[in-house]
Structures are given as structure tokens and as C-alpha cells.
């Protein structure tokens, strides 16, 4: 059974108020807390390492898999290996996420390696939210590694969100795309206090007609630090676009390192990066509507990260 803190963490990371529909695997403090499989989606515990294999049959449509992780004990450090095998011609949603409540002095750390093997012409939407809270002085640390291997004609949309409470995170995402495959990544990130967040993307556009769009919107507050490091490698006739748009506040530090690597004459690769404070005219406009400067800032940040 999940306790009330774990339930609240689940709401934050997966909008879950009760057990989800369809397949799910809920992990709480390094143990399996609940699992459900369906005729099309199987979840199997790995024997050699901690983690699960999620196997989705060919042709599975309009189904979802929830795999949230919650931790509310201080001092847990775990490394989890989850593999997702999505068959051909599927259309599925996978909702992951990790919520840490650290009440103690020791660090809580969840590192996960998620590997996605996407079949031909399949469509996947992947949502991953990270959230941290807790009154303890122990750090809340998340280091997710995501690997995506996309077969011909597949379409993957990834939404990565980390808005509050994670002290340190290094997110590494690597993708390899075959012919006519598409990967869309939307990252939304906010750091505050002394948090650090690094996002590393490496997308290999190997197949003809493959494409990617990696877009990061972030807000860095207080003394926090963010590094956005996106690399797109075009090995065929392909289209790639990476964009980092960051609002910097207070004494924060933001680094954007876009890198394009074209190995084919028909590779079309673009990157855009913009870092700046909240525009003064935006604040003035909202203040002229009766908002205080702090309220105006909040609205601008909320809209930006929406």
C-alpha cells in the first residue's frame, strides 16, 4: 500500500489520484508496490539487475503504461534498468516520472536507464516528470539516461518536465533514427536555490528522411545552474532542429552548447539558443493590468513553462 506522501508524489509526477487504467508498475522505495499487465502489454521483472522489461505487442493502439517511481525515505540510492519493447504499428503512451520526498539528512538518489526499442511505423508518447520535496537537508538527486532506437517510419514524442525540488540532475538522452523516423523532444525545466541541472542530447539521424526537433524551455532562479548540451548528427538526408530558450533570473548561470554535425550533403540541421532575463516590457504590461512585479514574474514564468 502507498502512504499519503507517496500518493501525493504520484499526483505531482503522473497526475494520478488512484490506480491508473491499463498497464502499470509502481515502484516505491526500491520495491514494487503495484503492477498490472494487459493482454497486449506485459511487464516482467529483470533477473540480473533491478528493473523491468515492458513488452508491447505489435498493433497495440490507444493504450498506456504508467511506471512511476516514488521515494520517501532518506538515504536510498538506486539504479534501475527499464527496457521498453514497442512492437510494429503501435500507438501507445508511456508515463514515467520520479518523485522524491527526502525527510532526512542523507541523500536520496534515483538513477535510471530507460531504453526504448520502437518498432516500424509505431507511435509513442513518453511523458517523464521529476519532482522533489522534503524538509530534510539530504539532497534529492536524479540522473536519468534515456536511449531511443527508432525503426523505419516510427514517431516518438518525449515530454520531459522538472519544475521543482530536484537538487542535482544530469539527464542524458541518446537517440538513433532509421528511415523516415521522427523524434520530438520537449523539455521544460526550472531550477532554484543551489540546484544544478544538465541536459545532454545526442540524436543520430541515420535514416533517409529522418527528423528531430529538440526544444528546451527553462527558467533558472536564485543561484542555480543549468547546462543544455544538444548534439544532432545528420548521417543521411534528414532534418534536425535544436532550440534552447532560457530565462535567467537572480544569480543563476545558464550554459547552452548546441552542436550540429552534418555528414551528408542533404542533412539540414539548425540550432537556436537564446538566454535572457524577463523582458521589462512584459513586466510593465502585466503590472499595468494590476499585478505586482512578483505576480507578473510568476505569470510570465508559468506561461513560459506551460
Amino acid at each position: 500500500m502507498l502512504d499519503s506522501i507517496q500518493k501525493q508524489l504520484l499526483e505531482e509526477i503522473a497526475d494520478l489520484h488512484k490506480m491508473p487504467e491499463g498497464a502499470y508498475n509502481i515502484r516505491a522505495n526500491s520495491q514494487m508496490a503495484a503492477r498490472n499487465t494487459t493482454s497486449d502489454i506485459d511487464i516482467i521483472t529483470k533477473n540480473d539487475v533491478s528493473g523491468i522489461d515492458v513488452k508491447i505487442k505489435d498493433g497495440t493502439k490507444n493504450q498506456s503504461v504508467h511506471i512511476p517511481v516514488v521515494m520517501d525515505k532518506s538515504g536510498i540510492t538506486e539504479m534501475v534498468y527499464n527496457d521498453f519493447f514497442v512492437g510494429d504499428d503501435c500507438d501507445v503512451t508511456i508515463i514515467a516520472g520520479c518523485g522524491i520526498h527526502n525527510p532526512g539528512e542523507e541523500n536520496s538518489q534515483h538513477d535510471g536507464i530507460h531504453r526504448f526499442f520502437i518498432g516500424k511505423n509505431s507511435k509513442l508518447k513518453y511523458v517523464e516528470k521529476h519532482y522533489g520535496q522534503g524538509e530534510g537537508t539530504g539532497k534529492r538527486i536524479l540522473n536519468p539516461v534515456t536511449e531511443v532506437y527508432q525503426k523505419e517510419g516510427s514517431y516518438v514524442e518525449m515530454e520531459m518536465v522538472q519544475i521543482r525540488g530536484v537538487d542535482s540532475t544530469i539527464r542524458t538522452t541518446k537517440a538513433e533514427l532509421d528511415k523516415d523516423a521522427t523524434l520530438i523532444v520537449r523539455e521544460r525545466l526550472m531550477t532554484h536555490d543551489k540546484q544544478t541541472a544538465t541536459s545532454i542530447y545526442e540524436v543520430y539521424l541515420n535514416g533517409e528522411g529522418s527528423s528531430t526537433d529538440v526544444i528546451s524551455r527553462s527558467v533558472a532562479k536564485d543561484n542555480s545552474e543549468q547546462i543544455f548540451d544538444a548534439k544532432i548528427i545528420g548521417n543521411n538526408a534528414c532534418k534536425g532542429h535544436a532550440e534552447c530558450d532560457a530565462i535567467i533570473m537572480d544569480k543563476a548561470h545558464v550554459v547552452a552548447v548546441p552542436k550540429l554535425d552534418a555528414c551528408h550533403v542533404d542533412a539540414e540541421l539548425i540550432h537556436e539558443a537564446a538566454i535572457g532575463k524577463i523582458a521589462g516590457d512584459q513586466l510593465i504590461k502585466l503590472m499595468s493590468l494590476g499585478l505586482t512585479e512578483e505576480e507578473a514574474e510568476e505569470q510570465i514564468v508559468n506561461g513560459f513553462l506551460k
Binding site: D245, D281, Q282, L286, M287, S288, L289, G290, Q299, G303
Partner: protein, 247 residues
């Protein structure tokens, strides 16, 4: 009533002091529809920004219903009942037209209430309500949304800073009808900075600002005939006068 007393605004450019507003005195009575006009660089927009608190006067006083608001913040003035439509509408990432109208109204407007404000500025609400207020909208569309934010506030004083600036004539032709509607429906004081004859023609009073001073402040009928056809009252092409309210 809005009263400006001996207002000065001086800036420093290249180590030289430049007077933008020069000991200006002006009284705007409650409920009037007043158009402020005058040559470019005469201080009209600066005057509007001083009233809203976007700029701070070097000296002098601004009184609103007898209260000295000279040192009040933009937020305080907004809460007292002054609204301001910017000459260049501000872009936002992620904030939608509906969000902005709700912030303007200071409450969770229903979709149909928000749509009502968009209809008042001649916009097809369903097409716009969920659009982000950014450069994907045209200059004319952003202007109308800007005006709708002022309507949604419904305050006692509404200031519009050159609504015609930066938009094409077709879009402006639509806008003039919006102001004609405001003229008939608005109960509060409306202050518009404009050069356009059609806007001047619907004023109760016209204020001519030149070199940072009020050169004339009279009823429209007294002043309007003298400035028609001059650069203070630009007329639009007659071919554009047909209304096109496709929605």
C-alpha cells in the same frame, strides 16, 4: 478627474539635458472622450506613460480624483482604475489570449465572457482565444487584443497610445470602428493619442501637444476644423472606408 500640474520630464542625452514635457498643465474631466494629438516628438506618448507610471516625472504632480498619484507604482495606478494600451503590444511566450484577458479582468472569465471582449474589437473569438500572444499574430491582431485587455479591465480611465501606429491601413480601418463603438459604449474617461482624422472626429475634446506643452485644449468642434488635412489629422483613403467585418 485627471489633473496634471506643472509636469516636467527631462532626459539626458549625450550629456545634454533635453526637455520632453515642459511645465505642462492639463485637466481631463471624468467621462470625456479626449484625443491628444500634435507633431511627432512633441511628448504625447511620454505624457501617456507618465500618467500610467511607466515613466517618472522630473517634477510636477499627477492628481487622480484629487489623490496625488505622482509617486505611485504602475500596479497601484492600475488598481486605482487606470488602464493603458501600449503602442507596441508586448509578446509573451506561452501566455494565451484567454490568459491575458483573464489577467486583465482580474478574474477567471468564462470563455464566452472572454469572447465577448474579442468580439468588441472585431475579432473572431474562437480562432484566437487559445492562441499565444506572440509574433505569430499580425500587428493588427495584436493591437486589437491589446485594446481588448483594456476593455476587459473596464476601468474608469483608459489610455490608448497611438493605436494606429505600426499597422497597415486596412487594419486601422477596422480599428476606427472599434473606437467608435467604445465612444458610444464606454462610461469612463477615454484618452487616445492619435493623428487620425476619424479618431479626432469622434472626440469630445482635443488636446494639442507641441514641444512638451499644451498648445490647445478645446472642444472638438472648435479645434477640429483647423487641423483637418494637416499632419495632425491624417485622413484615410476613401477606398478603405467600407467596413469589412468578416468573421
Amino acid at each position: 478627474m485627471l489633473e496634471l500640474k506643472d509636469l516636467c520630464f527631462i532626459v539626458e542625452e549625450d550629456n545634454q539635458k533635453k526637455t520632453i514635457i515642459d511645465h505642462l498643465n492639463l485637466k481631463i474631466d471624468q467621462g470625456k472622450f479626449v484625443v491628444i494629438t500634435g507633431p511627432n516628438g512633441g511628448g504625447k506618448s511620454t505624457l501617456a506613460k507618465l500618467i500610467m507610471g511607466i515613466k517618472t516625472p522630473t517634477s510636477g504632480q499627477i492628481l487622480y480624483n484629487g489623490t496625488n498619484i505622482t509617486n505611485m507604482s504602475i500596479t497601484e495606478r492600475a488598481k486605482l482604475g487606470i488602464s493603458f494600451a501600449f503602442q507596441q503590444p508586448v509578446h509573451f511566450k506561452g501566455i494565451t489570449v484567454l490568459d491575458l484577458l483573464r489577467l486583465s479582468a482580474g478574474k477567471q472569465l468564462s470563455i464566452s465572457e472572454a469572447c465577448e471582449f474579442l468580439s468588441q474589437v472585431g475579432m473572431c473569438a474562437k480562432e484566437y482565444i487559445n492562441r499565444e500572444v506572440n509574433a505569430s499574430l499580425s500587428g493588427g491582431e495584436l493591437k486589437r487584443i491589446e485594446i481588448a485587455t483594456v476593455l476587459a479591465r473596464g476601468t474608469e480611465v483608459s489610455i490608448f497610445d497611438e493605436p494606429e501606429a505600426g499597422i497597415d491601413l486596412w487594419s486601422f480601418q477596422h480599428l476606427t470602428s472599434v473606437f467608435e463603438n467604445i465612444r458610444t459604449s464606454a462610461k469612463g474617461t477615454v484618452l487616445i493619442i492619435s493623428h487620425q482624422e476619424r479618431i479626432l472626429a469622434i472626440a469630445d475634446e482635443i488636446v494639442m501637444i507641441k514641444d512638451g506643452k499644451v498648445e490647445a485644449h478645446k472642444a472638438k468642434d472648435e479645434i477640429f476644423p483647423k487641423i483637418v488635412g494637416t499632419s495632425q489629422a491624417l485622413s484615410s483613403c476613401g477606398m478603405l472606408s467600407k467596413e469589412d467585418k468578416k468573421c
